[in-house]
């Protein structure tokens, strides 16, 4: 029985990985992100089409995958902090985050319950934040394909996107701290304060501890300890009522203070295990959970949210770029409307906290396709002019 169980897992992971990388490569070749290929692989292998496996078959791997996404983000938090010095990028990135958040939240407050199966302020706050953050993958790809990344327009756009996402993650941390579930307020507060104390101590002492770790005879020790630390801290955040995924982000911030995190060998190992294994499985897991019938059932809500996000980001992006004297305000604004992994992470954390059911992911899925198509369309219109 145990042998059969293990063989089934190997089969599921093997099939999923192979399909993900084949479709990822195909998507890359036609100019789309490989992530969309991973999601499509899951969708095709899932219950809507081939019914090869259920999402639950790879859920554990997907949990590690999304933790590694956030861990990697935390690992480069200092890098993002450097980018905050780009004054115009800061204004655009924060302007879109705050402006779109305000527009979406206001619309949800007045009309949300008409379009969505939700009616609490907490749910609306999480959704507004999720749709106010921008995606960086699609705009980078478009900028690169047009040779614009190294121009002032490209740097301005990408840096503002990095600032938007970083600030969005910080705002998400705040929301999770304020709205984490739990009946006993004192116990919850105690747990969060205890976690904050552990975080602070580790953050301040990691560079001393790593003097010992770096000299371990076992050369894989840095990686193994980091991985154990990432999983441990993620588990701890769950225990104190916060999201597992957020724990991974904090673990990344702590490890980024160590000397060994800068080494090429360490980064190659983290990338190999993340980008080569767990992260593609996470996206494919998301695809496995999608059901065409549920997506159609939630299409009105999906279009409502996509519309709010797109209109507010286009308006703010265009106005801010124009104010900054940029010569391609339309291109910049169009590049910042993509919805992808960043929004998914916020919604998953909301789901992890019990705010949403699985329908939120069915509601979000069309936005990825719709926003990508809208960008392509807008670029075509701008080019014609």
């Amino acid at each position: 029985m145990a042998a059969g169980l293990a063989a089934g897992t190997l089969y599921n992971v093997g099939i999923l990985l192979m399909a993900s990388f084949i479709l990822g490569e195909l998507f890359e070749r036609i100019g789309l992100e490989s992530i969309l290929g991973y999601i499509t692989a899951g969708l095709l292998l899932g219950p809507s089409f081939l019914s090869v496996m259920e999402a639950s078959a790879v859920q554990s791997f997907a949990t590690i995958g999304v933790s590694l996404v956030l861990f990697n983000a935390g690992l480069r938090e200092e890098n993002a902090a450097d980018i905050f010095r780009h004054r115009q990028g800061l204004q655009l990135g924060l302007g879109i985050l705050a402006g779109s958040f305000a527009v979406i939240f206001t619309a949800l407050y007045f009309f949300g319950s008409q379009f969505l199966p939700y009616n609490t302020l907490t749910q609306f706050l999480f959704i507004a934040l999720a749709y106010a953050v921008v995606d960086i993958g699609i705009p980078s790809k478009i900028m690169m394909s047009r040779g614009m990344l190294r121009q002032e327009t490209g740097k301005y756009t990408i840096k503002s996107a990095v600032i938007n996402v970083t600030a969005g993650l910080l705002a998400l941390t705040g929301l999770v701290l304020v709205f984490s579930p739990g009946e006993n307020v004192a116990m919850r507060l105690g747990g969060i304060l205890g976690f904050a104390a552990v975080f602070y101590i580790l953050h301040e002492t990691i560079h001393r501890i790593d003097d010992y770790i770096i000299n371990f005879e076992e050369t894989e020790a840095q990686f193994a300890i980091t991985f154990a630390f990432l999983l441990g801290l993620s588990y701890m955040t769950e225990i104190v009522g916060l999201s597992t995924v957020l724990g991974a982000f904090f673990a990344g911030i702590i490890v980024s203070r160590s000397d060994f995190s800068e080494s090429k060998a360490f980064q190659e190992k983290i990338n190999a295990i993340g980008l080569g294994l767990f992260i593609p499985i996470f996206f494919a897991w998301f695809g496995l959970g999608l059901q065409i019938s549920s997506i159609i059932a939630n299409i009105e809500a999906a279009v409502f949210l996509f519309g709010l996000s797109t209109v507010s980001k286009l308006g703010i992006g265009y106005a801010a770029s124009k104010l900054h004297g940029m010569d391609k305000p339309g291109t910049i604004a169009a590049s910042l409307i993509s919805l992808d992994i960043e929004t998914l992470v916020v919604l998953l954390i909301g789901q992890d906290m019990g705010l949403f059911g699985p329908e939120i992911l069915q509601m979000f899925a069309p936005a990825v396709l719709l926003s990508t198509l809208t960008i392509v369309l807008l670029y075509a219109v701008i080019d014609r002019r």
């Binding site: 992100e33 490989s34 992530i35 996404v69 956030l70 990697n72 983000a73 690992l75 480069r76 938090e77 890098n79 993002a80 450097d82 980018i83 995606d135 960086i136 993958g137 980078s140 790809k141 900028m143 690169m144 394909s145 040779g147 614009m148 990344l149 190294r150 490209g154 740097k155 990408i158 840096k159 996107a161 990095v162 996402v165 970083t166 993650l169 000397d259 800068e262 080494s263 090429k264 060998a265 993340g274 980008l275 992260i279 992994i341 960043e342 992470v345």
Partner: protein, 140 residues
Amino acid sequence: MKAEDLMDEPDFIEPEAAIEEVVEEFKGSENTLIVREENKIMGEIHENSLLKAMIPEDKLDEESIIGVLGISFDQSYVPDNAEDLMNKHEVTVGPEEDIGEIAFLMEREDLRSLPVKEDGEIIGVVHENKVIENFSEGGE
């Protein structure tokens, strides 16, 4: 062979220096610049650091540049100044450090040069090519 026998005069550059200034420095004999701010070592720029900034944009892979969530944006592909090109590290050795230990640190930390520090002052830099010129198995 000790660090003091291998070291050259250090070539410093400020983190805010323009890319043109970095390129100009490399037109001389230097192949590594030490990035320093107020006497504190921030990292190094090897001449091959500029390769990333020369790759045509259509050959770039966006995941290498921005990572999955984008926060990992690697500015060395689109540098504005010396700091964007820098390989961050604070590793230094003393003048009495042995060549074998220097080779060990360079390999482990993936460095092209190591500043030599004495009494809090940078007195020289050991470059990778100098270590290789004095090759001996086991660093004896």
